[in-house]
Symmetry: none
């Protein structure tokens, strides 16, 4: 079943809102084994809407539209579908009463224009909208299905789950599409692509390589009769990829670097503290975005000045001798933080976030310190880019190195 999504609304083409409806629906279709080939956004313009709908009707088996079902003149989805299918719009008296009653319940006077929301065509079945006044349309004709849904995400999501998904489940071929993502850090996209290139040509499961904020994601997508079968198909590829990339793979699917490190700390019964000089709290924020953080995260210190660094207990002489941007101070920060809060592991970050160089070190120079009673290590790196990217990158490196250190504890 070839599917197509059409999002209707001039505000989409003015950039006033981002089309989250399309990505929401796109994420739903794989579960039904339906292939999505096309997404487009079109304004409240009859000519262009007709063109888009006609093409969709020719090339797609299932067409999902959102938007353009409102009561105002510029809401044209119903009129356009009628035109494309060459059918007549007529007011459905039952729908008309429902809409009137809805306004009555809210104690609001109904604008006459709302009546157009009660219009249907012969091959359209009106679909109840529990969250708004505009009913949807389920249209079936010549082997095509067109489902017109309202634009407001709240109304659309509810209609999708209660009315559309059950209907589509009956049509679904039985095949499902299942994905699994392996998350890699520390290798550039091109290198990862080269290393796994033998698998990139596979048709089922497919393997995609994506650069993300937390590294490179490798996504297997399998089409199969059952989820179990799909998982088995993916398991083979996963084994191969893991043998190639080894410890560069830090997580899967919904894992975050913070949740992975957090789970390991919980499992080992270890507590964590951080001291971050240049990331201004991003490491602590990232750590505390994981669930149940308080089980292992004791706290953080954010010296944003040398006075603060010293006030937090870092030896002034060390700063004088080596500079704040040094592995020596990074190591001291991690140890001081760990000791003063009586934690098992301390992680620190110091570096040059920019815009200007610091202590003669270029922007992007970063030192990470990790300190536990058994291990001490510092990591040095340099990453070009804007402030935000450098902060995010060094935060990821710190969490990745923390994970490596915790793995080594086994």
């Amino acid at each position: 079943m070839k599917a197509e999504i059409i999002s209707v609304g001039t505000e989409l083409l003015l950039g006033e809102i981002t089309d989250t409806n399309a990505s929401y629906l796109a994420g739903q279709l794989p579960l039904l084994g339906i292939d999505l080939y096309w997404i487009s956004q079109v304004g409240d313009n009859r000519v262009r809407l007709v063109e888009v709908l006609e093409r969709a009707w020719q090339r797609s088996d299932l067409i999902l539209t959102t938007g353009g079902l409102g009561p105002t003149e510029d809401d044209l989805t119903r009129e356009t579908i009628a035109e494309v299918l060459g059918e007549e719009l007529r007011i459905d008296p039952i729908l008309e009463r429902e809409i009137q009653e809805r306004f009555a319940r809210r104690g609001v006077k109904m604008a006459p224009s709302n009546i157009k929301q009660a219009a249907v065509i012969p091959s359209a079945k009106a679909i109840h909208n529990a969250r708004g006044t505009a009913p949807g349309w389920w249209v079936e004709k010549d082997g095509h299905i067109l489902m017109a849904m309202p634009g407001p995400p709240g109304e659309m999501h509810h209609m999708w789950h209660t009315e559309v998904l059950p209907r589509l489940h009956q049509r679904a071929t039985g095949a499902i599409i299942f994905s699994k993502t392996l998350k890699v850090f520390g290798l550039p996209e091109g290198t990862v692509g080269e290393l796994v290139s033998p698998l990139l040509s596979s048709a089922n499961p497919t393997l995609g390589v994506y650069a993300k904020a937390d590294g490179i994601h490798l996504r297997f997508t399998a089409k199969a009769k059952s989820q179990q079968q799909a998982e088995e198909m993916i398991a083979h590829g996963e084994t191969r990829v893991r043998s190639i990339l080894g410890e560069s793979i830090w997580g899967t699917d919904n894992d975050t670097m913070a949740s992975v490190a957090g789970d390991m700390l919980t499992e080992k019964g270890l507590s964590l503290v951080v001291m971050e000089y240049c990331t201004g709290g991003l490491l602590a924020t990232t750590i505390t975005e994981a669930p149940d953080t308080s089980a292992y995260f004791k706290g953080g210190l954010i010296p944003y000045s040398n006075e603060a660094l010293i006030a937090y207990g870092v030896d002034a002489k060390l700063i004088y001798d080596y500079g704040v941007i040094s592995s020596e101070v990074a190591q001291a920060m991690a140890e001081v933080a760990r000791l003063r809060l009586g934690a098992d592991v301390g992680v620190s970050i110091t570096g040059v976030i920019g815009p200007d160089e610091l202590e003669g070190k270029p922007v992007g120079t970063m030192y990470i310190g990790i300190d536990s009673s058994q291990n001490k290590k510092t990591i040095e790196g340099n990453y070009p880019g804007d402030r935000f990217r450098v902060k995010r990158w060094v935060t990821n490196v710190a969490l990745f190195e923390l994970r490596k250190m915790l793995l080594a504890l086994d």
Copy 2:
């Protein structure tokens, strides 16, 4: 000039990411007076990409593509443009060297496949990518312009502003569309809408009301012969809105709550420290995202446990008597942080982030403390919602209240 946007990437059709690039670019075109008629998303599939590009080339004067410029086999935008325009790809030696040097700087070995990012066609001019390895393409042929940009938003935004916008400005003609946004906090969207309703019917400039993460945005959009004329048209409306909403308006356009507070601190020569119990560093992170933070931000303390709270200098008896979730402890946190780092202003946050209630206080209970030598105040609030929204909300309230306190110093 008729424009069209094409976003390339299978992950868009699997619903794994939402296409923010299209809405970003759609929001930019009105400033150039360019009409956007079409947006579509297409996967990394040669056949469908060719079809979409061919149609765009026929019907649009300006085509903006994002994505598909990466180094892996499934990145097909370059190859497809070459096919549609019937031109040959060849490696540009200068681009090749640039890419190699970029890897060298990062001390990373370049995968051979990255060379394809140095490929161009005769009618394409390579556009420098300051944030990544994939150059863009500015293609001009038969009166059409096609600009291919990388998919990662950070790379695309930077290329758009530094390379594409200036080029398009030269082509743009006649009327321009200019917008100005006023940012409001502390009032619900409905209330703001009611208050400014007299202005909502205006046709030029239009006024739009949008709920955003940092409050309610009021956007004026004027169409005029010149920017100056547009600004004058908007100035009238702005005066009216400011007389209605007064101090609830905390900023405009690119202001963030942190940058606004930061500018006031810099101007008054005051330094700032924070202590945050439940937001885990989000306040400090938000503050340090503003430019030149180190001019006024001295540092932060993130107690994520009572031991840490006490270790940082908060009186254990106070915690015992009133509990951590109290205005008394909030006030003490702000004062302790300020005094121990010798800063002028201290801001604190304590509260219940969830999932469970704490000290008998429900999730969402928040106390903010602000402490300076002249003023002390605490703000109590409760905000229902998930962890992330509560953290973001209380961080916004803290910065909004800090601004109010700084205004009162005048």
